[in-house]
Amino acid sequence: MLTKSEGLQLYRSLLLIRLTEEAIRSHYHLDEMKTPVHLGIGQEAIPVGVCHCLPKNAVTFGTYRNHALYLALTQETDRFFAELFGKETGLGRGKAGSMHLCAPGQGLMATSAVVATTIPLAVGAALAHAYRKESTPVAVFFGDGAMEEGVFWESLNFASLRSLNILFVCEDNGLAIHTGASDRRGFSSAVRSVQGFRCKTASADGSDLSAVIRATERLRAEMAQSKQPGFLHLTYLRFLEHVGINEDFAVGYRDSPSPEERIARDPVARFTAQLLALGCAQGELDEMRTGVEAQVECSLNRARDARLPADEALYEDLLI
């Protein structure tokens, strides 16, 4: 069970992600953030929950849908927004944009715009830890579509072969852009599809932060005991279009969620209810929201005011 203070801290993380994404939504039309954005509204509980269960020195990898993961790990928004604005002060000096964020100092080693490509990198990091006889765990986050890429299976095979300490986190929104799972999968259950390998598996409702934490903790315990990698399957609802800032339920490729479903699949709403049940006061939560709003607002303004990289930067950062 979570303590109240843990709960509040997690809540802040969820909120930071949500409000950051909402800030992007409201400022994007100004065309100052010249980078495609894959937003994480609905996805928040997955990185927040999983990273909560990892030690501070854990190493993570993600995809182009990486805002939630970055924020969950760092709570940082200055360099984040600066990157989205393409500024010199951004995480990648503006060269990365939204899709390639990384923050090696905080353990986020790499993210990538080519589906599934960071999965073997994560395995390589896990191998490095085994090589140095370190216990540092690795977690790699990827969408359900990534399981269709051969490199996922190659990576799973190698991690299972070498008994690596790596958690494969499948963030399953049932969609690859606009294509549903039934048009892409030759298997009926993601979890069962990997169970032929020497790995441990678990699944949970990825919209429910507590469920994510429970599943992750259980899986990590099994991994530790068996010395096998883990595969964590978490479902969630992608509230927005694949890339961009709008809802697109009306377009027709999927059903619009009912009002109940909207709440059930909203990690912030669900966790708020749990916190209130835990005895937190609404005022406490509101106060936290005000603080987060201020952080986001302030970072956004700083990012806007920051300077763009100078021309010379074009040829910098290539080779050492």
């Binding site: 010249k34 980078t35 715009a113 080519v114 690859a176 606009h178 294509t179 892409r184 490729y253 021309d311």
Partner: protein, 346 residues
């Protein structure tokens, strides 16, 4: 019959035409039948031909490239579509180790009539992993045909020709060309069009690929105001390459810029420059200049992206240098950008 069409419509129209004529033609690839229809370039196909002949796939570029080969070996004519050329790197083993050599290794007993369509070019800060062109890389491997249609007519004729071709053909389409409108003669012979002079001139030959043709036309427009007439050759089919049109032009102008939409290093610009340097040794009055991507991965941020991509301005500046002209004041010229893409008519 000639109608005004956009490049994207011309592509969809060409596919429909061939699917109509030949039931063995089908179009597939990630997101091909969704409501966005690959920027509209597969529009209408699923309605007209059904999901059996226009279908999506799992995210499995390597296997899907092999699937196209296997289907082609079995007598079908697959058109495999990719929303970014970068993803083709996942199918590189099938492309360069299998597709390019299977017919040769079989002593001519196999045939692989298949088309790969992939989109190249610039989007909204697409960055390093969504910006590759790769035509020089594909052309490097014998056994593949590689084309870059520029005008709507090219898009129409070259896609039809590619589908009818008995060999593997890779077509790369620049995203910014999609909005261009131009006359499309639907009875135009389906041909993998080779190099063509798209603008006659006498001062300097600019040999271009894809979007660089548009930039070169813009450069020519600016330079013409100053009495300098560029001759512009659009290469269109880069492999197999027939450089004769360029050589003939250089024989006349004595000056040559190769403006390629790719990195220079061992790219198509290197091949063409090496060939023209050889063939026009006597007529070149100064060294061939090459223009292409900056030799770094494509950065996301706009100011660096603008430096990364070659443009009409680069062409103008290089032409001035080659011809010993004073620098033109470009302050009052408008150049293309994401927001101000050329829309046509071509």
């Amino acid at each position: 019959m000639t109608t005004a069409r956009t490049y994207r419509d011309a592509l969809a129209f060409a596919a429909a035409k061939e699917m109509d004529a030949d039931p063995s033609v089908f179009v597939f690839g990630l997101d091909v039948p969704d409501h966005k229809r690959i920027f509209g370039s597969t529009k209408g196909l699923v309605e007209k031909f059904g999901i059996d002949r226009c279908f999506g796939t799992p995210l499995s570029e390597d296997a899907m490239t092999g699937v196209a080969i296997g289907a082609a070996l079995s007598g079908l004519r697959p058109v495999h579509v990719h929303i970014r050329a970068d993803f083709l790197l996942l199918g590189m083993n099938q492309i360069a180790n299998v597709m390019s050599s299977l017919r040769y290794m079989s002593g001519g007993s196999l045939r692989l009539p298949l088309v790969i369509r992939a989109i190249i070019g610039r989007g909204w800060g697409q960055g390093a992993q969504h910006s590759k062109s790769l035509h020089g890389v594909f052309g490097h491997f014998p056994g593949l045909k590689v084309g870059l249609p520029t005008s709507p007519q090219d898009a129409y004729s070259m896609l039809r020709a590619a589908i009818r071709d008995e060999n593997p053909v890779i077509l790369l389409e620049h995203r910014w060309l999609y909005d261009i409108e131009g006359p499309v003669d639907e009875n135009h012979l389906p041909l993998l069009e080779g190099p063509v002079v798209v603008r006659p001139g006498n001062a300097l030959t600019v040999a271009c690929t894809s979007w660089m043709t548009i930039e070169a036309l813009k450069a020519a427009e600016v330079l013409a105001k100053h009495g300098v007439e560029l001759e512009i050759v659009d290469i269109r089919t880069v492999a197999p390459l027939d450089e004769t049109v360029v050589a003939d032009s250089v024989a006349k102008t004595g000056h040559c810029i190769v403006a390629d939409y790719d990195w220079l290093y061992s790219g198509f610009s290197a091949e063409l420059a090496a060939r023209i340097s050889h063939r026009c040794f006597g007529s070149l009055r100064c060294p061939i200049e090459r223009i292409g991507f900056a030799q770094v991965p494509c950065p996301t941020t706009r100011p660096l992206e603008n430096l990364f991509y070659p443009s009409a301005v680069h062409i103008i500046r290089v032409a001035e240098r080659m011809l010993g002209l004073p620098m033109i004041d470009l302050n009052h010229e408008t150049f293309y950008s994401y927001e101000e893409r050329f829309k046509g008519p071509f």
